[in-house]
Point group: D3
Chain length 188, copies 6
């Protein structure tokens, strides 16, 4: 936790507040590591907490989108923005959740190469347009999501996950955030 | 609060939880309205709370960037993404905080038209590159921010505000979120 | 009229020829100001006259497009090109002619946010494509304009107004032309 | 003059007003043809006259730019916009005025392939940026033109010619305007 | 053959191997010149031979695409990439093979200006998309080629010719390769 | 070899000519598989042979660029074009040749994330510009390669490898070519 994870000189608090340390210990126990993004935010506990609260709500809370689907959006968006950190970390998550290493690779390299249901194809095309050209997203785009079966609540969730990674990709790129080495070999 | 604020059928909880209602009442008292983005999120209080916690931390908490500077970044990013909601709402904020209506217009129309300090020019050019081309942001971009006087903590804040509006612009565009009418005439 | 309106050192003739002075006096009487673009051209009366003749023909002469519709095209094109002068001046014109300040804002920020008839939507989408990607405008684009009711003469006028602002946006941007301050507060 | 020159059904007045007929006769005498653009505009004499007045002022009146230089800008802009009419007609003009057919081809195909003076290179790079990305043209771009020897009046003229072809390219593309066949073989 | 054809100092072998000299002599006999691209590669005979073998297979061997159609693709791709060498050399080939100088010009300037069959239009639109945006080429694009009558073998050939010029355009641009002067006046 | 490797119905010759079969057997022996690209070309032995001759010359013959450097270019170009086949196959090659799995990932995801020498950074930036914007590659780009130590022959090789993958990426994308499954787990 003392090595520098970003190009900015913003060391984590030392010692960490008890609650934060407990959260990091839980990460180590469950994941075998503390994801570097959490350590990067740990220079300011309010920032860390507001980031993790939003992240956990979007990626882990109840949704009509499966956790895998949310991770697929995460990787596709991160690939369009070419974010090193998020492609590495969430690419591993897609491989793990799907049990299909090639699916994780396809989300990174070109989601059109994957064999996808119409629903998932439409979901990722929407995420792609919303990432590349948000100004032109319009009613027909929402209508198409509804046609393949998405509810309005699920459309909200697709938009929110797409939005979130457009945020976090930029924080990671702007700061040259480095992912934990462990991700590379996971679930290959 | 009953009229539809987005293209999605996701009505606010009715009644709102007491704490949320109190927060909305406070908005009405202070701002003369409840910003529509809060009403849009009010179908799910956890989502509302995690959104507002992050927003308030980024835009209102202590930072080496003034509130006006953070609003300037907000509008420039929203202009690049052509987000209707955020240009309207945060354009008004720039006019109000600066007392300079033309400055708010310039952030919407083309920030290069504004008379800016080297510091603010560099800040907005960084936000522009990070929005348009995050893949190519690199060490020389950070170095230039340091040259004009930004600390590493301030670089983090520029990146975070830029990231945040790249998120919220996309949620607003994806859902056709409508800003409150009151903004248009404010601080002209 | 002696202050510098562009980044170029090209002062207006002094005194102006009688006819030009009379035209400028008429502007002051009718508009409360001489638009800066006219002053910028006044270093050369032939250039001023050929510019104003074309402008007046396109924007004021008989056309199947209303004056408001021509101003809407003007602002949408100027927004795509991010021309400070033209967005300010013609944004004010849209607000004034329509009596709808939010419509003027939407033309500047994202015309897709405005509630438009199919006819006006098609007109602005054509202007957008012709501005962003003239190489790919083709018969189906014209056919769509005819389907929503435009005559061939009106298609000519849409093309001409779109073309004109693609010209004048570039002259204004290349010279850093400043709009009159009065526009900002008009018709808010 | 009876065949259709554009995709729009806007026939030339028949008979033409005397002055217009005289002008067209002069064209035939001097150029061996009436350029189709003039015939395309001849459905409305005011439009024809305001177009030709501006054209003649920009391309033929006194300027620090030679006629060849103005035609070089015309072709480079038309190539960037891929305008069929203007590349054909003005490509011929560059070949003719320069006596160098390969120069005309290079303006159409890629001006970087031509052996150019620093002055002409800078002129064409400015026209290119102003065409492709007018929003980002700024003081350093003007400064560079001054460094290679252009006066402020010449900068105005570069901007005006660049702007003009950004207009007329779009009118021609929007209407599928066809150039006279004669141009193709000229000055090869 | 002693003058420099590219910006790189890579002179042709001197003397050339007998077989190569014989091939160059054949070129002179048949074409009146040795195309400069062959001379550019002649610093290394293996590279020359592997390049010409692939070129001859693609452009001259049996195919459901006519030689003219393959040259049309060559020019359209080279125009999109703005390759000086290939537009000059293959533009001449289109003029020669078609006997229609304007067709060669249209391939260089904007293929949408040419009067084409649905088949040829579809072929060039596929080459255009594959050049500009290979990541998004997908089943509907192949389906459209089949609809207008192309066999799978012909689709392979369209892809291969498009690919080849995306290669050779880049070698020529990277090295500033100059075409033989003779091309300019051919078949005008 | 009977399963379909592309979206086109172009089965390999059966039986293969003796020489081709011997080559494929050698691949199986050395690599544990016949790369699918070879099988895709095997419907036509002349095409297969001219493709492999060029490939082998570029990627395996003597060069001032190491085999790893050539594979790094291959992956960076394929990532920019988002070619599924080539990122998978050549990503594995980078991992294998470098013994550094993260380096292979960085070439796929964003080469700016890798720790590179100035020489390799310049090489990949040149490949990137030549891929994304060949029209604007010019003398200063070559000069920069020379500054970091590349000879003219090495510049040729960088250009040729970059060009080659711009070709083969497009053939693979146009035909939906599928890489061998074995690549995914190699050298992780």
């Amino acid at each position: 936790m003392t090595e520098q994870i970003t190009a900015l000189d913003l060391p984590a608090l030392d010692p960490l507040p008890k609650e934060t340390q407990a959260y990091f210990d839980l990460c180590t126990e469950k994941l075998g590591m503390v994801p570097n993004v959490l350590q990067a935010y740990a220079f300011n506990i309010d920032k860390l907490n507001s980031f993790t609260a939003l992240y956990n709500n979007l990626m882990l809370a109840d949704s009509g989108l499966s956790k895998l689907e949310r991770e697929m959006i995460a990787v596709v968006v991160s690939s369009l923005n070419r974010c090193w950190y998020c492609q590495v970390a969430h690419g591993a998550a897609v491989r793990q959740l799907s049990g299909d290493p090639a699916l994780g690779e396809a989300m990174v390299m070109n989601f059109r190469a994957a064999k996808l249901s119409d629903r998932q194809r439409a979901m990722l095309e929407f995420a792609e347009k919303l990432t590349e050209n948000p100004a032109k997203v319009d009613e027909p785009d929402r209508a198409h999501l509804r046609e393949v079966g998405f509810s309005d609540r699920e459309i909200w969730d697709i938009a929110s996950v797409t939005g979130f990674f457009n945020m976090t990709n930029r924080v990671a790129q702007a700061t040259d955030m480095q992912p934990n080495d462990e991700y590379h070999a996971q679930a290959r």
